[in-house]
Amino acid sequence: MNNENLNWHFVQDSDGIEDEDIIRFDLDDKTFCIYKLQDGFYATDGICTHEAVHLEDGLVMDDEIECPMHQGIFNIKSGKALSPPACDDLKTYPVKVEDNKIYIQIS
């Protein structure tokens, strides 16, 4: 890991993670979702902006995550809320994979 930037946090090894898998990552009092899409890993806040439920149990379809409670849909790459009842966007975070290890950048 590049220690020059301390905002990168190790999540887990990337081996065995399949497309459309969701990894939950907790740091202090914050929680995040890391998604494996066809073209790589992406991360958003872990909690749906509509109601307090974790998106780790949601369904990934192409580049979208659907909330498991009320089917609000967000674009994983942009965080944009696409379908009601979700109306506020999700915050997104950079993710990188080095030496088969996944890192998320949380500033």
Binding site: L59, C67, P68, M69
Partner: protein, 414 residues
């Protein structure tokens, strides 16, 4: 459509505003007018029985679109306007304050009305509260503040959601249901019994197979005699005994009504240039090959959008697979498809913590699925069930039963 044509949307709910939005997406010339009886812009209904009552959300938090949206999109939104008569021949709507509105195409999206059936209830109706709009929810919220014991008549979704909110506000809650299960109109018995257990574990008292025999009103408190002869004293009574399609305007008018306005798969009614969408419509569903009337968030929105397209001449059949949810206490209930026609029921999941879903199977296909679980635990599988049933895929029993089997794999085989 001719650019000068007038589209009038009757009703101020989810179907109405999503129809207006969709029409504008395709056509920026046609005139759009929404006529609503309510004095506020269209808002989401689900929070009214939950977060609004428990003060977690304000009305502004769940308005669909703000006033800038309507002005920017040139959508004329008339609030506080009650239509009392209609002339189909000349295409005119008449309002209570003597205004007339001409239309070329009319979308009826008047939603539903609370049912008032039981004579004991009818005679006392004015003393009780019920929930349909934000003002009703305000009344319940205010009355709950000064109440300790609450009786809810009717164990359907609304009644149980209010029971959950009242429980959260530390009220003593009684729910009386005349049938042998809660939410009997749509939720299978096993799932409903799990829900009953959660309510009881949280202290709510649930009476099944029970009706109200007598009600006495003394000094702001009610003495309620139940059909099992038990007497309970409460200081607030809330009705949640279901709803009926709001077709009042069309009494004795030349339009086919049977448990709602009859519409075909294109949202067309029996009256030329009149469409209906949402709760008010009893619509033909081509996937199930029968007429269905639904009262749900997803349906209201999708049906309004579909009606909009057909109004504009973009022929599109409404084939959306039904889906609905209810949040009660710490649990989430979801249902997709229809659970009333099956050969066998397969249960996936063993407990509320991981979620329990019953799959209703006929001819090796999923016809419906209904589940209950701690918030977030059933939605994924319910959505996948919906996709699998829509594609009419043949299922493998062991895959459904095995909670560790990822149902999305069934879709990828295709």
């Amino acid at each position: 459509m001719n650019s000068k044509e007038k589209i009038v949307i009757l009703g101020g709910g989810q179907s109405a505003v999503y129809a207006a939005k969709e029409i504008r997406n395709y056509d920026n010339k046609v005139e759009i007018t929404i006529i609503s009886e309510e004095n506020v812009l269209a808002y989401e209904r689900p929070p009214l029985s939950k977060e609004y009552i428990t003060n977690k959300k304000k009305l502004d938090d769940f308005i669909f679109f703000n006033s800038e949206f309507y002005s920017k999109n040139n959508i004329n939104y008339l609030k506080n306007t009650k239509i009392i008569n209609i002339d189909f021949q000349n295409k005119i709507l008449f309002s209570q304050n003597n205004n007339q509105f001409l239309y070329d195409k009319l979308l009826v999206a008047t939603g539903s009305l609370n049912r008032k059936i039981d004579p004991n209830i009818k005679n006392n109706y004015n003393k009780f509260l019920s929930l349909r709009n934000n003002e009703d929810s305000d009344n319940i919220k205010n009355k709950l503040k000064e109440s300790k014991k609450v009786l809810i008549i009717g164990g359907g979704f609304i009644g149980l959601e209010i029971a959950s909110s009242a429980n959260e506000l530390d009220k003593e809650v009684y729910v009386v249901e005349m049938n042998d299960q809660l939410m009997g109109r749509s939720i299978p018995k096993k799932i409903s019994n799990l829900c009953k257990k959660i309510h009881e574990e949280n202290g709510n008292k649930i009476y099944l197979n029970t009706t109200i025999k007598k009600i006495n009103f003394y000094n702001n408190s009610y003495e309620i005699k139940l059909s099992n002869e038990e007497i309970i004293f409460v200081d607030l009574v809330i009705l949640g005994i279901g709803s009926i399609a709001n077709t009042e305007l069309f009494k004795n008018k030349d339009i086919k009504i049977d448990n709602g306005i009859i519409t075909n798969e294109y949202c067309e009614t029996s009256q030329k240039d009149v469409y209906a969408a949402g709760d008010v419509s009893n619509f033909f569903h081509p996937f199930y090959n029968k007429y269905i009337r639904l009262e749900s968030y997803q349906h209201a929105q999708n049906h309004g959008i579909c009606a909009a397209k057909n109004i504009l001449g973009i022929k599109e059949a409404y084939n959306s697979i039904p889906w609905m949810w209810s949040d009660q206490l710490n649990i989430n209930i979801q249902l997709t498809g229809l659970c009333d026609d099956f050969d066998e029921i397969l249960q996936r999941g063993e407990n509320i913590e991981e979620g329990v879903i019953d799959f209703f199977i006929k001819d090796k296909e999923i016809k419906g699925a209904c589940g209950i679980g701690v918030k977030g635990k059933i939605g994924r599988d319910i959505k996948l069930a919906s996709k699998i049933l829509e594609k009419k895929l043949k299922i493998n029993v062991s895959n459904i039963l095995d909670k560790n089997f990822n149902l999305s794999k069934m879709l990828k085989k295709v």
